[in-house]
């Protein structure tokens, strides 16, 4: 649920496009053996619901630029499949326990099976891209494959950055580092790529998609920071993962970075020791201490104000993206997203 005016159109459009994408997506999930350890599981994450924000961005952008949702549908489905694949792997890497209100894939079936399921979903996400050739022609299809390759690579690089910080227990991650990681790991898959491909499909490869990158970054950054905030202070029922999980994970969020930067030397030392402890072994008392330090240093407010700034910049950039483009519900939706991402709970 979201407060503010942006809520209605966003939920409406997400629901509509989400349904369309899902109905095509299921046709790409094989109905074959092995079921118990593969194909039933492959269908699990996609069927857990979720906002369908990525495919909706793709379809809405295509339509806003005058194209048809039909032509963008396969690409949107591919993105959603890929997203689900990465969710499974993320959950393994973060050692998360719940996803969308249910236990994570590896919590249910163990890490090896979960990894395999994730790999399969990645493979499956390619199929719809090849099917594009019938409607989009070979050149545009190849362009989208190129774009997908870039997105996949950026996502992997972003994930590597984040994992590396954790593995090395890096103490001095800056806000800029964080934003770079978010750009790569989150923004490309969540915002930039779906919109770029939508625009390319609608304009037959002719559109200059660089302004979209800027909008996608700010939108995704606002989205991610809000996500991190909700992890700490969100409503347990509507937030899909376990509350406070990021604290256990030692995830470098803006809040954590802020504390690291503001802390006294003694606090810093304690914090770094805390971060070095494996997730399962982190004492609850330390987690609570960290949370209090965040409050003390105004880390939540700081992160919220940065999220607002990102949202503001997104509003500026979406105007650039849509300069000269006629009004439409899809355009309204994309414009409303800039505020929706930080108003949602």
């Amino acid at each position: 649920m979201a407060r503010g005016n942006s809520g209605h159109i966003v939920t409406e459009v997400l629901a509509e496009y989400g349904a369309r994408a899902r109905s095509l997506l299921v046709t790409y999930l094989p109905d074959a053996e092995p079921r118990r350890y593969l194909y039933d599981l492959v269908a699990d994450y996609p069927s857990r619901g979720g906002r369908a924000m990525r495919p909706s961005l793709c379809l809405a952008t295509a339509r806003a630029f005058g194209g048809s949702a039909e032509r963008a549908l396969h690409t949107a489905v591919s993105i959603e499949l890929f997203h689900n694949a990465l969710l499974i792997h993320d959950d393994v890497e973060d050692e998360s326990q719940t996803r969308r209100g249910k236990p994570t894939m590896h919590a249910l079936h163990g890490v090896p099976v979960a990894v395999n399921v994730g790999d399969t979903l990645t493979l499956l996400s390619l199929r719809p891209l090849f099917d594009n050739v019938r409607t989009l022609g070979p050149r545009l299809t190849m362009r989208i494959v190129e774009e997908t390759e870039r997105m996949a690579r950026e996502s992997a690089e972003g994930q590597a950055l984040e994992l590396g910080w954790r593995m090395d227990n890096k103490p001095d991650v800056s806000e800029t580092d964080y934003l770079e990681m978010v750009l790569k790991k989150t923004c490309w898959l969540a915002c930039i790529h779906p919109m770029r491909t939508g625009a390319l499909i609608a304009t037959n490869g002719g559109h200059d998609v660089d302004p979209i990158l800027r909008y996608g970054f700010f939108l995704g950054a606002a989205f991610q920071i809000q996500d991190d905030l909700l992890n700490l202070i969100g409503d347990a029922k509507s937030y899909g993962k376990e509350l406070g999980g990021d604290l256990y994970e030692g995830k470098r969020t803006l809040m954590l970075i802020h504390v690291l930067q503001q802390a006294t030397p003694a606090e810093r030392e304690r914090l770094l020791r805390f971060l070095a402890i494996p997730r399962a072994e982190k004492p609850e008392s330390d987690v609570r201490w960290l949370r209090k330090r965040m409050d003390a240093y105004g880390a939540i407010e700081h992160a919220r104000s940065v999220a607002n700034a990102m949202s503001g910049a997104a509003t500026v950039e979406i105007a650039n993206v849509f300069r000269g483009v006629p009004a439409s519900r899809d355009r309204d939706f994309l414009e409303a997203l800039a505020t929706w991402v930080i108003e949602r709970t």
Partner: protein
């Protein structure tokens, strides 16, 4: 037509007259040989001068500290950030954001330039003089190279597909076929491919290769044809080696309904290995419509 430049600052009487900046060059590059050798035309820069729009930054905003440096300075600050500093942080974040975006855009543009088929690179393995290759072949070759690269990428990042799972690489092959209308044949086998005529009407081709040795046949059509009028030249060896006679024995058998063609390639045992090329043409109009390439292995 008159143009003015908008300023983001409030309107002030402009004392300075605006002048054009001199372009890097003022004449077209007509020397294609130099371009094809991979030298970018003079003045490759100057494009895409869109930088990050200027963000109004309050004066005195401190620069983002470099990671790992000056943490001692931060450690001294224990009080919660004042509202003024919070605003600065917002600006800082947005400014960093724009810098990251511009860097990402630049990387994308550089990658696009690399991928835009650099004709010299693509043909360098063929050791021809610059500009000697037929351009149509170069473009096709470049697309094939890219399709090969994409395939290799997927091979590298995808695990082996589970048993019984449709092979995505086969799907990739289908895409490459659509790109170039190739049909692959084996020494004793038969393969079918599709080449789409310009108006969307598909003509199917079947290739039968009769040869004692492995041979790969590529058949390419660049335009709509009447299959009954198709004919192919005797294929000459690519390197014009006098020891390699023309490859005869290629016959085209169009179907009555004009929708399919059977290509029969019979290769004599004595034919030396190598690549052979021949033009495919429309007998009636006399126009060149495509090419047939046979790679004969040793």
């Amino acid at each position: 037509m008159a143009t003015t430049t908008r300023d983001s600052e409030p309107k002030v009487v402009k004392a300075v007259r605006r002048k054009r900046t001199a372009p890097e060059r003022t004449a077209p590059e007509r020397n294609m040989t130099a371009m094809l050798r991979g030298k970018s035309p003079p003045g490759q820069t100057g494009s895409r001068r869109g930088g990050a729009p200027s963000m109004p930054v309050p004066p005195g905003a401190p620069a983002q500290p470099r990671p790992g440096a000056a943490n001692a300075a931060n450690a001294a600050n224990v009080a919660p950030p004042s509202p003024a500093a919070a605003e600065t942080a917002e600006h800082r974040a947005v400014r960093s954001g724009y810098e990251l975006c511009e860097a990402a855009i630049r990387r994308g543009q550089e990658a696009a330039k690399r991928f835009a088929p650099n004709l010299a690179d693509v043909t360098s393995t063929l050791k021809e003089a610059p500009g000697a290759k037929e351009a149509l072949g170069m473009a096709e070759g470049a697309l094939r190279v890219w399709a090969d690269l994409a395939t290799a990428w997927m091979r590298a990042v995808m695990p082996l597909a589970p048993a019984g799972f449709p092979d995505p690489l086969k799907a990739m092959e289908a895409l490459r076929e659509a790109l170039s209308g190739e049909a692959s044949g084996h020494a004793t086998g038969q393969a079918t491919g599709h080449a789409t005529a310009a108006r969307g009407q598909a003509i199917s081709f079947a290739v039968e290769v009769l040869s004692a040795r492995p041979a790969r046949v590529a058949f390419e059509l660049s335009r709509e044809v009447d299959v009954a009028a198709l004919a192919v030249q005797p294929l000459q060896s690519l390197d014009r080696d006098p020891a390699k006679p023309a490859l005869l024995g290629v016959e085209l058998h169009p179907s009555k309904d004009g929708r399919s063609v059977e290509i029969v390639v019979a290769i004599a045992g004595a034919q030396p290995p190598g690549r052979y090329l021949g033009a495919v043409y429309d007998k009636v109009s006399g126009t060149l419509v495509g090419g047939l390439t046979i790679d004969l292995k040793a």
